[in-house]
Symmetry: C2
Subunit: 574 residues, 2 copies
C-alpha cells in the first residue's frame, strides 16, 4: 500500500501571464485538456519559433452541464501564437482525441492535420458531417518522421482499442518530448503487431527529456488483458447461442469488430452492421486494410430475415446505452428495422464510461425483458480495456527512462497514482509534474519550471453556439430543472397607480396544472393584494413593483409547496 503523497507544491500557480520568451532555446509543454478529467485531450508543444498540437478532443457533458452538447478546449493560447502554429498531430481517431478538430478548424482552417490513415478517414467523415471546407491532411504511417520547423515528430506504433494508434517522439532543440498517446502493451494483438518495443527503446536510449503518458488505468494493478481474451469469450458465446447474436461495441474498436467478424466466419453466420458510425468505420477500415471481411459474409439489414437465427450476427453501436443509439432503441422496441425476440443473445462488448452506468444497465434490463440473453462487459471477459495497467505503465517508464514526467489523460487520482509509479522507476520526484489544464511548463537546457498558466477551462458547445454560455446560464437551467418557473404578468397604469390588466400567472414545471387550478387562483388573488399594498410612489417605479411581486410570490409558493421556482415578474406600463 502506497501512502506517501508525491510533492504537490508546484500545483498552486495562478498567474495568467506567461513571461516573454527568454533568448535561450526553450520547449514548452502545455496540456489544454485531459488533465484532471477524462476527455478533450490536447497538448501544445512549443519551441521559440514553432508550435505543434498533439490531439484536439472533445468531452461529453456531465449531469450538471444542463443542455450542453459537448465540451471542447479553450484555444486562446494557440490563438495568441497563430503565427507559430505549424501542425496538429493526431495520435489516434477516438472522439476524445479528434472530436474538437471541427471547432479548431473554424479558427485555424489551414493547419496541416497529421495522422495515420484511419485517423484521417475518421476526421474526414466528421468534417463532412459538419460541412467544413477543404482540409490539409498529411498521411503518415508508424515509423514515419515529419518535420515542422524546429520540431521533428516520429510516429511510433503502439496498441490501443482502435487501429492506427501511435505514440509520438517530438525532437526539439532542447530535447525529446515523448507522448505515449493512449496505449496498452498487447503481446498477442489481433492484427499480429505488438507495440514497437524496439523503436520505443531506441528513442529511450537516445535520451528523452520529458514523457507524457496515459493515466486512465493507473489505479489498476497488473497487466491489461490481451484483446485475444475477448476472442475466447466470443468462442464460448458463439458455441452456445442458438438464436441470433448481437454484439455492441464502440464503432472505432476495429480489433473488436475484426474478432466479431472472424467468429461469424468460423461459426457460419452472416454479419450485418447497424449504426451510421459503425458502417462508416467498417467502410474506411476495410478500404485501409485494417479490417478483413469476406464479401460473402456481409448482408444488408433488410435481408437478415432471409437467414435462420442461428446464422445471423449483428454488430451494432450503442454499447453506452446512448438514448438514440440502435441498441437502446431496440431495447424499447423503437428500432425501425430490427426487433429483439426471445432467443437473441446480446453481447455488450464494452464497459460503461463513468456516468453512463445507469443508461447501460437500463438497456440491459430492457433487453432482458424482451427475452434476450444479455452478456455485458463487466464480466471481465467479453470486453478488455484499451489502456495500460500499472505493469505496462512501469514498462513504458523503464523503456523510455525520461528525465521529467507528466501523467496525462485521467482524473486527478489517476494522475497522482501514475506519478507515484514514475517515482518508483527512478524519476526524481521533483521532476514529476502533476499538471492542471493550462499550466505552462518550460524546459531550457538549464531549468525546467512551471512559468505560468493559460486558459484551460471548459468551452461549452450548445446548439450552434461555441463558448457563448457559461456558468450563469447553467445555474439558471439547474434552477429551472429543480422546481420550474412562475411568470407573473401585470399591466399597470403608472400615472393613476393602478392595475389595468392581470396579474396573470403562468407556470411551467412547477405544478401538475389540471389539479393546481385552485392554488393558482389563490396565488393570483394574493399577488393582486401584494401589488395593491405598494404605495403610489412605488407603483410609479416598475422595479419596486417587480421586487414586491417576486419576493412575496416566492414566499407564498414556498409556504404552500416547499418549492422554490424561478419567479419572473413582468410589469407592463400601458
Amino acid at each position: 500500500m502506497e501512502l506517501e503523497p508525491v510533492r504537490l507544491d508546484r500545483l498552486n500557480s495562478d498567474t495568467l501571464i506567461v513571461p516573454a520568451p527568454p533568448s535561450t532555446p526553450y520547449v514548452r509543454v502545455i496540456p489544454l485538456g485531459g488533465c484532471g478529467e477524462i476527455g478533450r485531450n490536447m497538448t501544445v508543444v512549443e519551441t521559440n519559433d514553432d508550435l505543434v498540437i498533439v490531439d484536439c478532443g472533445l468531452m461529453f457533458p456531465d449531469d450538471e452541464m444542463y443542455g450542453v452538447d459537448v465540451v471542447i478546449n479553450d484555444f486562446t493560447y494557440v490563438r495568441e501564437r497563430t503565427a507559430k502554429l505549424r501542425a496538429l498531430l493526431v495520435t489516434h481517431g477516438h472522439e476524445d482525441h479528434i472530436g474538437g478538430i471541427p471547432y479548431f478548424l473554424r479558427e485555424f482552417p489551414q493547419t496541416p492535420i497529421v495522422g495515420t490513415p484511419l485517423s484521417l478517414a475518421l476526421i474526414k467523415a466528421k468534417s463532412r458531417e459538419q460541412k467544413l471546407g477543404e482540409m490539409s491532411l498529411v498521411q503518415v504511417g508508424p515509423g514515419d518522421r515529419v518535420r515542422y520547423g524546429s520540431i521533428d515528430a516520429e510516429f511510433v506504433h503502439i496498441n490501443h482499442s482502435v487501429a492506427g494508434a501511435c505514440a509520438l517522439a517530438l525532437r526539439t532543440p532542447v530535447g525529446t518530448i515523448f507522448h505515449t498517446g493512449d496505449f496498452k502493451f498487447d503481446q498477442t494483438p489481433i492484427d499480429g503487431k505488438p507495440a514497437d518495443f524496439a523503436g520505443i527503446a531506441r528513442i529511450g536510449d537516445e535520451g528523452v527529456l520529458c514523457m507524457l503518458s496515459d493515466s486512465t488505468n493507473a489505479e489498476r494493478p497488473g497487466h491489461t488483458l490481451s484483446e485475444r481474451i475477448v476472442g475466447e469469450a466470443f468462442t464460448s458465446i458463439f458455441s452456445h447461442a442458438k438464436g441470433r447474436i448481437l454484439i455492441a461495441s464502440f464503432a472505432s474498436n476495429v480489433p473488436r469488430i475484426q474478432q466479431a467478424v472472424d467468429h461469424a466466419v468460423r461459426f457460419g453466420r452472416k454479419v450485418t452492421f447497424l449504426g451510421r458510425s459503425m458502417q462508416n468505420v467498417v467502410h474506411f477500415s476495410s478500404e485501409l486494410g485494417h479490417l478483413r471481411i469476406p464479401a460473402e459474409t456481409v448482408v444488408k439489414i433488410e435481408d437478415i430475415d432471409n437467414f435462420p437465427p442461428e446464422r445471423v450476427l449483428v454488430v451494432t453501436t450503442g454499447s453506452q446505452g446512448e438514448p438514440m443509439s440502435g441498441l437502446a432503441r431496440m431495447s424499447v422496441r423503437d428500432h425501425p428495422r430490427f426487433r429483439i425476440v426471445p432467443g437473441d443473445t446480446v453481447v455488450i462488448s464494452a464497459t460503461p464510461i463513468p456516468g453512463n452506468e445507469k443508461s447501460v444497465y437500463k438497456t440491459v434490463n430492457n433487453l432482458a425483458k424482451l427475452g434476450a440473453t444479455v452478456i455485458h462487459g463487466t464480466d471481465g471477459k467479453s470486453h478488455v480495456s484499451g489502456h495500460a495497467s500499472q505493469e505496462e505503465l512501469l514498462l513504458m517508464l523503464n523503456l523510455v527512462r525520461p528525465e521529467f514526467f507528466i501523467p496525462i489523460h485521467g482524473e486527478y487520482r489517476m494522475l497522482l497514482q501514475h506519478a507515484r509509479l514514475a517515482v518508483q522507476t527512478g524519476v526524481e520526484s521533483d521532476n514529476v509534474f502533476v499538471l492542471e489544464n493550462g499550466d505552462v511548463l518550460q524546459f531550457t537546457s538549464e531549468f525546467c519550471d512551471k512559468i505560468g498558466k493559460t486558459y484551460g477551462g471548459h468551452v461549452f458547445v450548445d446548439g450552434s453556439g461555441v463558448g457563448d454560455i457559461g456558468e450563469a446560464v447553467l445555474r439558471d437551467r439547474k434552477a429551472l430543472s429543480n422546481d420550474g418557473i412562475m411568470v407573473v404578468v401585470v399591466a399597470i397604469d403608472s400615472e393613476e397607480a393602478r392595475v389595468t390588466a392581470g396579474p396573470d400567472l403562468i407556470s411551467k414545471g412547477l405544478f401538475y396544472l389540471p389539479e393546481a387550478g385552485g392554488v393558482l387562483d389563490e396565488l393570483r388573488t394574493e399577488t393582486l393584494a401584494m401589488i395593491q399594498e405598494v404605495s403610489v410612489e412605488g407603483m410609479r417605479d416598475v422595479n419596486t413593483v417587480k421586487e414586491h411581486i417576486r419576493s412575496g410570490l416566492a414566499k407564498s409558493i414556498y409556504a404552500r409547496t416547499k418549492r422554490r421556482p424561478v419567479v419572473i415578474p413582468v410589469v407592463m406600463e400601458v
Copy 2:
C-alpha cells in the same frame, strides 16, 4: 455460461382489476416496490382476513427525475384494504426499507410497526425529524414470533451491513412465506453471531410455500467476503498511516463503525464522529449494546486538535460523495470544523451506489488535491458488500427449499439471474415468478397464479407535495433544463387590433445575457413584425396571436442558435 432464459410469459399481465377473493383460503404476495429497481422495498402479504406489510422504503431519484426529492410507493392497494391492515414488519433499518414509513404513517397512523430495537430507534429518529405524532412501536428480537390475525411472523437472525437485521417467516393458513430481507452469510461476523442457520433450516424442514429473496448481488459469482476482511485492511492502514485517519462509511453500518473503533483502541487513537446521522446511530447503537466504545476513546470534534495527528481517528458520513455531506464539504474546504491537511489518510469504506460514481470520484480527486492519501472501497479490501453473492443465494435456496420463488430487491437483470439460480437448486421453472411492482400473486391450496395488477408506480415527493407531480411536470423541467425559456409579453388593444405595449422578451437559461443584447433586440423586432402580420380578425383572438408568436419565435431562435427553449407567449388585452 448460462444462456437459457427462464420463462417470461407470465410477465405481461396488464389488468388493473383484482378479482373478488374466492371463498377458499388464500394468501397473496404483492411487491409494491423494489422489483426491477434498487430502492423503495415494500411487500404486501395478505390472507382472506388480514394484511401485513414487510418494509416500506424510499428510493432516491435518478437524473431524469428533475427536482424530485425522494420516490416512494403507491399505497392504493393498502388504502383499499385499510380494514385488513394489521402491521408493518420491518426487516432492518436501511433507508430503502424504512424511508417511506413517515409518508405511510400520514395515512395509516395507528399501524403497529414491528422490528428489532435498532430499526425502531432509526424509525423514531426519522419521525422526530418529520414531526410525526405518537407511533405504535412493537419491539421484537431475533427468534421472536408475533401473531396478527391469521398471520404469524417469526423474526430470524441473518447478517447484513446493519445491526438487528432479520429475515421473516410468515406462517399463514395456506403456507409459509419466507422473506429473506437483505442478507449475506458471514461466517466470521464482527458481533460473533453468524446467521441462524439452524432456524432457517428448521423453517425449511417445516415446508415453505414461497420464498422472496434479496437479488442485489445475484450477478456476482462466489461468496461475499466477510466483514472481517475489512478489519485486515484497516490493520494495514492503521499500521502505515503517520497522520490522522478519516473513515467514511454509511452511518447505519454498525459493524463497520465497530471495526473502526476497535482499531482506534488497538492503535491508541482517539475517535470522533462527524455527521448528524452518524452521531445518531452511534448513540442508539451504543445504548442498545450493538456498539461497544470505551468512553475514554471518544472525544469531541472541538477537542481533536489537542491530540497529535497520529492519535486521531475521525469516523464520518459522506461515503457517497453527497454534496452537502461532511466529507464532500471537507474536500472543498467548506467544512466549518474540520480541515484536511497533507498527511491525512482518508478511507472511503463503501462503494458507490450506481449513479453516484461521479460524485464519489469527484470527492476522491478533491481530497487528493488537498494532499490527503485516499483509499477507496473499490480496492475490494476496505469495503465488503452486505448482500449475498451467488453461492450464498444458492445456500439459502437449499436451506429453505421453497415450492415457489420470487426474486426481489434488484434490477430486472439481477432478478432474472436469481431466478436462474433458483431453477438450478430444483425449484420448478414454472414456480419461479419474476414479478413487476404491483403484480398480485395469489396462492390457494390448489393453485398459484398472478391474478392481477395493482398500482406499483413511482410516487414523487417534491417539497411538501406527495404524488402531486407526474411525468408531465418532469418533462417540462427537462425541457427547461435543456435550453431554458423565453417569455414574450405583449399588450394588445383588440378593439383597435394594435399593439399597445411590448413585445418584451424575457429569457432564462438560454443566452448569456450581457452578450446577447443584440440578438434580443433583433428577436424583439421580428416578433413585432410577426404580430403585425396577423389579420385584424386574428388580432381579436388571443390564441391566434399567441400561436403566431410561439411558432415564429421558436423558429427564429432555432435558426440563430440551434436551441429550442420553451417559448411562452403572454398576450394581455387592455
